[in-house]
Symmetry: C2
Subunit: 203 residues, 2 copies
């Protein structure tokens, strides 16, 4: 399902074409492509180059590991994510490794790395759906996350599904697969001089 963003200004096709489906093909993702996806995360920017992100990955060719990752998602996400061939749990380190001080940028910088995952996956013909709906305590327990780190989110990756994969989704998710993508206009979040005052450059 292609639904390129309806943009006010041109953007790169990898940004225009990325969206978050729930219908995934059963086709496995080759390990070489997953390597590239994590390599992309690796090269994100981060405060003091701390690289506070970690990922725990499970693929459907190992049903036990995939089931364990799936069980950490909230029920509504399990309903569709069970078909995703790759599930990832994200984890951040709370402090800077070099001095133990709190890293206030840790979640932001995880976002930068996760964004690179989206870009690289899109470049490889894959789709990504990030989830906040995760049982974080269960992740901590299941994967023995140390106190120095925090579980944060989950990511499903796979090839796009077609009509059959949309049809097997629970009904409340089917419309979202074809609904247009929507965003606030630029003048609601690009300001100058003071907060809320739209920047001239956005018209």
């Amino acid at each position: 399902m292609n639904k390129p963003a309806n943009t006010q200004h041109p953007v790169h096709e990898l940004i225009r074409n990325r969206w978050s489906p729930r219908a995934f093909s059963d086709r496995p993702v080759p390990p070489e492509l997953l390597q590239q996806v994590f390599e992309a995360a690796r090269w994100a920017a981060s405060s003091f180059n701390e690289q506070p992100w970690s990922y725990i990955v499970a693929t459907r060719d190992n049903p036990q590991e995939h089931g364990l990752a799936l069980s950490c998602l909230v029920e509504a996400n399990q309903q569709w994510a069970k078909h995703a061939p790759v599930l990832i749990l994200t984890v951040v380190r709370k402090t800077f490794a070099k001095n133990g001080k709190p890293n206030r940028c840790r979640e932001h910088d995880l976002g930068l790395a996760d964004g690179n995952i989206c870009i690289q996956a899109t470049a490889l013909g894959l789709m990504v759906h990030q989830m906040a709906g995760v049982n974080l305590e269960q992740v901590r327990h299941t994967y023995q996350i140390p106190d120095t780190h925090e579980p944060f989110s989950a990511i499903a990756i796979g090839y796009p599904g077609g009509e059959a994969e949309i049809a097997r989704l629970p009904e409340q998710f089917q419309e979202g697969e074809t609904a247009p993508r929507t965003r606030k206009p630029l003048d609601q979040f690009v300001f100058s001089r003071r907060f809320g005052s739209k920047a001239n450059l956005v018209g």
Copy 2:
């Protein structure tokens, strides 16, 4: 200055070529390109499509606005960012607009939008340097950020500098412009089964 990432696995050129310089050309960034950069941020994913990010932008063709944004950076960042033709301050909304509940993903999702800014800017031949070193209280006061929102970081954007622009940097920053980029290997942050146990797919 080109310094493509020394990758373990191939990644898209926009990820490979992005890095965070401090030496920027004086060449102004045309408004049409900045529009595209913010459009890219606009289409990032976010939890419940909240789009918690806002940006306050200042360009050097308005010296007063540029000076105001510059004054919100910590001294060490001011020393090089004064040459950047575009300065941006980032702001996040604390709660979901639709129900007022805390949005724990706000900083992560700002990171996704900021990541898109990096990708789009790189695609347009621009360079981006994100900064955590910001006087957040001064941002709040200067730009009248409401209590519902939090200032988070700053972003410098411009065309890459050359030898002359490196030479005018304070000495402690010059080496960084040509030093190789470094990252942890994949097996230190891509795990399976339990935290710290490297995933087979990373070798």
